[in-house]
Symmetry: C2
Subunit: 286 residues, 2 copies
């Protein structure tokens, strides 16, 4: 059990991690990959005080060097859900679970919105985890929406155990090796069904399925945390970075504009301090 779990390795997550370390907390820092792509791809950053003129890559290196110097480890995991389990939170990462008394969400902003029906059918035909739920669809017909090459081994695993497997790769240059994978080069626009999902619709046409796997590295906040209050895709936070759920804090782009490194770093700092205050207030025998 950790004091705090941080999700995300952009500037907000880095700042939160540095502060929790300085504050002597027992925390885990989770992310679906290295420092945010958006950061490393920025051409030039001139308004992060203290570093007058750096590329995004240099800024990312400088930030990560700070966590390295402090011996803070990043744990690469795709977190698919955060659940309030009484006096703690349980974070699911495939078949693994992490437990923490407080959570700081630094998940950035999603490039795309959830697909229509996605939130509605989660757990009723839509799954985000091949290894967790694959066996439920043995010899059944499934669709797999794959957003990144790194998930192709999971696509192959699902294709092999299914009766029929439609695969929609959402990127160029896919190399899915299973002969059972039926590639569909269309974007799904809607998931529908009754009690359970049974149809994946495209702009033209649709397929009937027993289930859908969406393999992606990041989730909209409302998909990730049930009951989290959002507005226009941004997590609603107070000045102290607390959300509507006690013990869950948010920082960085996921809380809204301006999308700025300094703003993210500032909120990471505030969220860390607020989480520590929350822990002190709710202290109990662990």
């Amino acid at each position: 059990m950790y004091d705090v779990a941080i999700i995300g390795s952009g500037p907000a997550g880095i700042s939160a991690a540095i502060n929790l370390k300085v504050l002597g907390k027992n925390f885990i820092w989770l992310s679906n990959g290295e420092v945010s792509k958006k950061l490393t791809q920025a051409e030039r950053v001139k308004n992060y005080p203290g570093l007058p003129d750096v590329t995004g890559g240099e800024l990312a290196w400088t930030f990560r060097n700070h966590t390295d110097v402090m011996n803070i480890k990043l744990c690469e995991e795709v977190i698919t859900g955060v659940y309030d389990t009484g006096d703690k939170f349980t974070l699911l990462a495939g078949e693994r679970e992490y437990e923490a008394r407080a959570v700081i969400l630094c998940t950035g902003v999603e490039a795309g919105k959830p697909i229509e029906g996605e939130d509605e059918f989660v757990g009723r035909g839509i799954s985000y985890c091949a290894t967790c739920d694959g066996q439920l669809y043995k010899d059944k017909t499934i669709a797999v929406l794959c957003t990144d090459k790194k998930f192709e081994h999971e696509v192959e695993f699902l294709a092999e155990l299914s009766k029929r497997c439609y695969v929609m790769p959402m990127y160029r240059g896919y190399e899915i090796k299973s002969p059972k994978a039926e590639i569909i080069l269309k974007n799904p626009v809607k998931f529908s069904g009754g009690m359970r999902l049974n149809t994946v619709a495209f702009k033209d046409g649709s397929v009937e399925v027993d289930g859908v796997f969406i393999l992606k590295g990041s989730f909209s906040p409302s998909t990730l945390v049930h009951g989290l209050r959002t507005q226009n895709g941004h997590i609603e936070v107070s000045r102290d970075c607390s959300t509507n759920i006690a013990g869950i804090f948010a920082a960085g782009d996921c809380t809204g504009r301006p999308y700025q490194y300094a703003k993210s770093v500032g909120e990471g700092n505030v969220a860390a301090h607020s989480a520590v205050e929350y822990l002190a207030k709710t202290k109990h025998n662990v």
Copy 2:
């Protein structure tokens, strides 16, 4: 007339200045001195992302180097009041005035609270500016509360023109040269009077005066800006760093805890962006 006036040269003010420069705005950056004392006196700072282990002095230098590289000039002025004058704000600095369409307050936190009665008698016997109001007290009895050696020439100026001048230096090693200055080594605890101030009270005893000069470099936000909403000495701001007065924004320690460099830098960034948005919305023929 400037687009924006920034008051304060701590991390929040520096961040606001850098961002307004990047955003191409016409602004003035005012401060009663160099980068905040509190910053330069910090022993070690380990939680400002990107600079893993620096002294306060090094961090201050690094921040100021950033503004130097961008050719941003700091204008040394003690601002004694900010007044809403229609579609702009007027900032008083002794006998000089500055005008700006928006203001960002980065004034830090006061070490001391205002003295009882101070806010009440401003303009009715209490003055912050020797050169502006000195002549009003020619051949009268005044008290001068001097908080810093650098104001001693103003004390001497006031002593010379007054009939009688009680001087309370609030620091060690004063060198006030006027023979007319009657030094009182006590802290005033209360200002009182009727329509106008007439008494300065100490813990033991009091003196009768026609007016009081308080010579200091920084002011509580509510003294500085009439009508500004504060709570426990902190300026109340929304998530976008706006205050209750349209066009006035605040960032850094003056908005409340945690008192942290990263938090201040983040808010300076947000306040700059919000000020620019405000300018765009209220655009008129200037």
